[in-house]
Symmetry: C2
Subunit: 402 residues, 2 copies
């Protein structure tokens, strides 16, 4: 018997009518003879609504209490979905993060899954029940409720699929699959039938919000076949898996853009061993993810360090940088939260040196200034002014797909 | 050092401004040198809103999933209150039912607290933290989330006060204390400074919604001094405790009324031993509380049995009665959900035989027909037509409080 893990995002369960719709899809998978585990997110904008309640109380709530607060969103969804499936006459049980044995570290609102104690899950599946699991949440060693950070339900689904050795992990969302660019911005963008884990990982990390990067990482590590599909239609979706041949015939698989970017520059950093570690350890201690880092040419034993973070994190980054600037004896710092990142991703570019040049040329043609560049074997990213991002994505899609 | 348990109901935490107000009260108790445990209900109408979501999914959701759903309401409140107290600079921690060690039976939405594993609570108090506990919820032996039924947060507060041997349990609500009748109906009703556990138990059971009966029972059993106060002002409130003298000078302490009543009559029940047990066991199996039971005079080896239940439960009662009527060979049944119960309560009436008569006289004077009567040592209750309830309460208050 095949084991399927399905994950439904917040837009797929935004109201009770949609929840009933999800129940029908889940039942269809059960009726097809599968063991079915379903991971759900909080309904619609619940998480944002809860966060704005918290903000009405205080600008800086403790992370532990944020996790306590946000975990309720998914608990509502699992109960309602279980009710809908029960009403259709199928045995079902809903499980919170702690009941499903999802053990995480203690980074309360950005926790990582450490392991899955799957005995309860296995027992319920053996009892022929459909199992509904709250996404985005877990429990740490001390029995405290944690949340996995935005998009964490994807990670829950993939981790469960890995733990249960599932045959497939289906990520249901409000788009049909992975596109060559965001179709809301580039009308000519088309859906990909297949994309490799590595390409998906880059796309996800670069702001293509269809899937959480950590989930892709996990899927790659445990070779969990992922399918990204819409919960609103029966289209095929995109399969994410291992590349079958090095020559997949595509130079570039997709264009990504990310508007949730801020850049910070620290000036006149003394050129001493351990200085970079000092700066970025201080940020890591606050669970702030740093994305791109650029260090210029050393002049007079000093240089400038520029890096980017998620714009959401900027308010927490500034006090850390303020402190660090004093500690290391830099001359000061500036930040800019009106920037964006555009990227091209493709497993083919590793063997083809002209791709980055083609990207820069396409941007230059539109008069777009590149502020930072970062490359990996399968992607090139540029930080540009935020108000030029849409134009940039269009130009890049035309260059590589058009 | 004194230990105080405070409980704040849904109206006291209905929005973030009120939650900050509660935080100030909690801090005041802490500043006065107490160890403080706070139990909170769900914000405002959250529980009703969650239930109506469930009803959009299905008319008969499984009880386990209702508990799973409703438990989220209190979890939101504890997180927000903890944030408000933390923002004021006081060490605080919020605990869900399972984290607070509240162990219940498995009557999912009407669970009873079996015991409190208080080690976590004690540890947090010893660390000088203010501890915020989710009311209304617990966990059963199997690790499943349960809820205690409407008003269950009172039971949580009293059970915690008993487990921690607290010096006082303060129940904060939207009224100043216990009144001689509902002040919204009887403008002349006045607040009682003191009321005995037994009287409070009767008043609470009879629909004076200021306190949950089970909470009073628990408080009496463990001799927890209760104070009922408003969270919106600093008035004194009503103390609930053991009667100091048998002669407390009052014949009647209060008038209660309950509109959440339905009566059911089963006709021509065969007069055999075990028949009553059969009927009421069937209802108990569905966790339906039966209130008044009246069995008439046996004629021709048959009689009629009439009983009342909470009107909310009627939809669940009817199919049970339908089945039972067939099983026992009764001739049929009727029900009426347009009835109400009015009651007088007073520890003094046990030694004064004229009180019930005075009650019947006062009702008769207003032309109110009595459909059922039930008495205990300290109360007399009458079931009457629902549309006469308000008039009846006024007449009884005039009779006994002049």
């Amino acid at each position: 018997m095949r084991t399927i893990v399905q994950k439904y995002g917040g837009t797929s369960v935004a109201n009770t009518k949609l929840i009933k719709n999800v129940a029908r899809r889940v039942i269809r998978a059960k009726e097809a003879g599968n063991r079915v585990v379903v991971v759900v997110s909080a309904m619609g904008h619940t998480t944002d609504e809860l966060l704005s309640l918290a903000r009405e109380i205080t600008p800086c709530p403790p992370e532990r209490e944020i996790a306590m607060l946000l975990a309720t969103g998914e608990q509502v969804s699992i109960a309602l979905l279980a009710m809908a499936i029960d009403a259709a006459g199928y045995p079902v049980v809903s499980l919170t993060g702690f009941q499903a044995g999802i053990e995480t570290d203690s980074a309360y609102t950005k926790a990582r899954i450490l392991s899955i104690r799957s005995d309860r899950l296995q027992k319920e599946l053996n009892d022929r029940k459909i199992v509904i699991v709250a996404g985005f949440q877990g429990i740490n060693e001390a029995g405290e409720i944690t949340t996995l950070g935005r998009g964490g339900s994807d990670a829950t689904a993939v981790a469960l699929a890995a733990a249960l050795k599932a045959d497939q992990c289906e990520i249901y969302t409000d788009v049909d699959g992975v596109y060559t660019a965001d179709p809301r911005i580039v009308p000519k963008a088309h859906k990909l039938e297949f994309i490799s884990y590595d390409e998906m990982l880059e796309l996800a990390s670069l702001g293509a919000l269809v899937l959480q990067p950590r989930a892709v990482e996990f899927a790659k590590k445990y070779a969990v076949p992922l399918v990204i599909r819409s919960s609103f239609n029966d289209c095929e979706g995109t399969l994410v898996g291992e590349v079958k041949s090095v020559e997949n015939g595509r130079l570039v698989s997709g264009i990504a853009h990310d508007l949730n970017v801020a850049k910070i520059g620290i000036f006149d950093v003394p050129d001493r061993p351990g200085i970079a570690r000092h700066i970025f350890q201080a940020l890591a201690d606050e669970y702030i993810n740093v994305d791109m880092i650029i260090q210029g040419w050393v002049r007079n034993d000093h240089n400038d360090i520029v890096f980017t973070v998620a714009r959401d994190d900027l308010a927490r980054v500034i006090p850390v940088v303020e402190r660090v600037v004093k500690e290391i004896g830099a001359s000061g710092f500036v930040y800019n939260d009106r920037v964006a990142k555009v990227s091209i991703v493709g497993a083919g570019m590793v063997t083809n040196p002209g791709v980055a040049a083609a990207m820069f040329k396409a941007l230059a043609r539109e008069g777009i200034n590149i502020e930072m560049i970062s490359t990996s074997e399968i992607k090139v990213s540029c930080v540009i002014q935020e108000d030029q991002a849409i134009k940039a994505v269009g130009a890049l899609h035309a260059e590589f797909f058009g």
